[in-house]
Structures are given as structure tokens and as C-alpha cells.
């Protein structure tokens, strides 16, 4: 379909800057994007019939990585 309506995974690498220009970067737009990203993750990995520890573990691992990145300047001394 048209570039502005495609999701991130369907956009080709060369089209990425143009696609980014069509995105809504206002606070509501960013929040909406965040909400959409979270609900796609949640529906794909956690909100399933026979979910296991994998969905949450990925989330926790991501949180650890994020904390590491936040701490990086402090730790690299």
C-alpha cells in the first residue's frame, strides 16, 4: 500500500528516511506509537493460549539491557 500507511516491518531499508518523515512525532503520536508497539508485543508473546516464561523473560532481559545502557557512562570507569 502507500508508504505512510505501512508498518515498520513492511518498510524497505532504502525507504526508511522517507517513511520516518511521514510519521507523527507529536506527543499524542509518539504515545500512540508506543501503545501500538506494546500491544503488538503483548499480543504476540504474552497474550497467547499457552504462554510460558519466554514472553516475560524477553521483557526482563530488555529491561536489564536498558539499565546497562543507562549505567554505561557510570560503569566504564
Amino acid at each position: 500500500g502507500p508508504l505512510s500507511e505501512r508498518r515498520l516491518m513492511d518498510v524497505r531499508l532504502g525507504e526508511l528516511p522517507v517513511w520516518l518523515a511521514t510519521r507523527n512525532f507529536s506527543p499524542q503520536g509518539l504515545l500512540g506509537g508506543l501503545q501500538k508497539a506494546w500491544s503488538s508485543y503483548y499480543d504476540k508473546y504474552i497474550n497467547v493460549k499457552r504462554g510460558g516464561p519466554a514472553g516475560i523473560s524477553m521483557l526482563l532481559a530488555g529491561y536489564c539491557l536498558l539499565s546497562y545502557g543507562w549505567n554505561y557512562q557510570h560503569i566504564s570507569k
Binding site: 504474552i46 497474550n47 504462554g51 526482563l60 529491561y63 536489564c64 539499565s67 543507562w70 549505567n71 557510570h74
Partner: protein, 227 residues
């Protein structure tokens, strides 16, 4: 050497945003709001079971008026539990190691229980300051003691949580530093230390859960006296 071990308790900033903000908001992701289905996903089911268990436990000793406190006590319990447990993961930050945060939680809630008691049943609330059956000469001393113990409750609540978690994190850091430092020289002692570290981590998991529970339990106790 000792001062550098306390660095883990400063909240690092990136792009001007301190990590404490993310650590406070992250537990909300792990607790999804249950949608209106008959059978929800396993995470929501687990969460509902746990919340029912906690609410029933907390609300059993309280009378009907105390049930107004159900939401805040249960959410406080879940919040503290999540935060304490998440703080045990590597590189994460535990907000409850900050005394300011724990006092901010303890003082207003304790004051709320006290004011509820003073406003609705002032004589009964004040009557708690004197245990039954004390001999008459001891009464002034006992009133002073009970007043002090009443006023020190918020401090105790906050400091208990802070001290337990801070001490646990410090111990983990110290022992892991020791076991890594010993590895090239005396491997046997290093293995012993690693075993101690494993046991300590298990203890920390338990402490994290227990401390959250104790905080909320004591608050509900203070509420029972006053409501």
C-alpha cells in the same frame, strides 16, 4: 574502597532522565490489566489469583470501613514486591533503596491511619496509648513510652525497608567482588564464596518479598487499631 560500593545506589542520568523514573514505571508493564474475557492469558490469570490472595489476606482482619483501604494496600504491596524483585536483576536500579522514597510512602500512609483514628474515634485512639491493667504508678511513664513508639512508626517503616534492601544489595556486591578477586589466587575459596553468593541471592529474593509484605502488614495493623 568502601565509598565506591555505594555508587550502585545513585540513580544514573541519560539524556537528563534518571533511571529511577524507568524503574518506577516498568512494573506497570509486567502487570497487564485483565480484559473482559472468560479465560485470560496465563499471566493475567496468575496476576488475578495473586491479587485475590493478597486482598483476602489483608482485608480479613479489617472491619467493613477498613475495606475502603483495599485498593491502596493491595496496590502498594504489588508495587513494592515488583520493585524489590526487579532490583535483583543485573544492572537494574531499586528505587526502594532510597530512604526518600520509602519515607514518602510510609509517612503519609501512617499519618492517614492516625488521623482516621483521631477523627472518628478519638478516645479509643488515645486509649491505645495505655495498655490495660498497668499498675497506677507506671501510667505516666507508659504513656510517654507508647507515644514515642507511636511517633516512631513511620520512621521505622521507612528505614526498615531501606536498610534491608540496601544491606542486601551491598552484601551481594561485596561477596561477588571477593569471589572474583579470589579466583586467580585461591580457586577453592572462590568456589566457597560463590556458593555463599548463591545462597545470599536466594535470601535476597525472600527478603524482597518479605519486606514488601511486612510494610503493608504493619500499615494494615495500624489501620485496624484506628478505624
Amino acid at each position: 574502597m568502601n565509598l565506591s560500593f555505594f555508587d550502585q545506589f545513585t540513580s544514573p542520568c541519560l539524556l537528563g532522565i534518571p533511571l529511577i523514573l524507568i524503574s518506577l514505571l516498568f512494573p506497570a508493564l509486567l502487570l497487564p490489566s485483565p480484559d473482559n474475557r472468560w479465560i485470560t492469558n496465563r499471566l493475567s490469570t496468575l496476576q488475578s489469583w495473586f491479587l485475590h490472595l493478597v486482598t483476602k489476606q489483608l482485608m480479613m482482619p479489617l472491619n467493613k470501613k477498613g475495606h475502603k483501604w483495599a485498593l491502596i494496600l493491595t496496590s502498594l504491596m504489588t508495587f513494592l514486591l515488583m520493585i524489590n524483585l526487579l532490583g535483583l536483576l543485573p544492572y537494574t536500579f531499586t528505587p526502594t533503596t532510597q530512604l526518600s522514597m520509602n519515607m514518602a510512602l510510609a509517612l503519609p500512609l501512617w499519618l492517614a491511619t492516625l488521623l482516621t483514628g483521631m477523627r472518628n474515634q478519638p478516645s479509643i485512639s488515645l486509649g491505645h496509648l495505655l495498655p490495660e491493667g498497668t499498675p497506677t504508678p507506671l501510667i505516666p511513664a507508659l504513656i510517654l513510652i507508647e507515644t514515642t513508639s507511636l511517633l516512631i512508626r513511620p520512621l521505622a517503616l521507612g528505614v526498615r525497608l531501606t536498610a534491608n534492601l540496601t544491606a542486601g544489595h551491598l552484601l551481594i556486591q561485596l561477596i561477588s567482588t571477593a569471589s572474583i578477586a579470589l579466583l586467580p589466587t585461591i580457586p577453592t575459596v572462590s568456589i566457597l564464596t560463590t556458593t555463599i553468593l548463591l545462597l545470599l541471592t536466594l535470601l535476597e529474593v525472600a527478603v524482597a518479598m518479605i519486606q514488601a509484605y511486612v510494610f503493608v502488614l504493619l500499615l494494615s495493623l495500624y489501620l485496624q487499631e484506628n478505624i
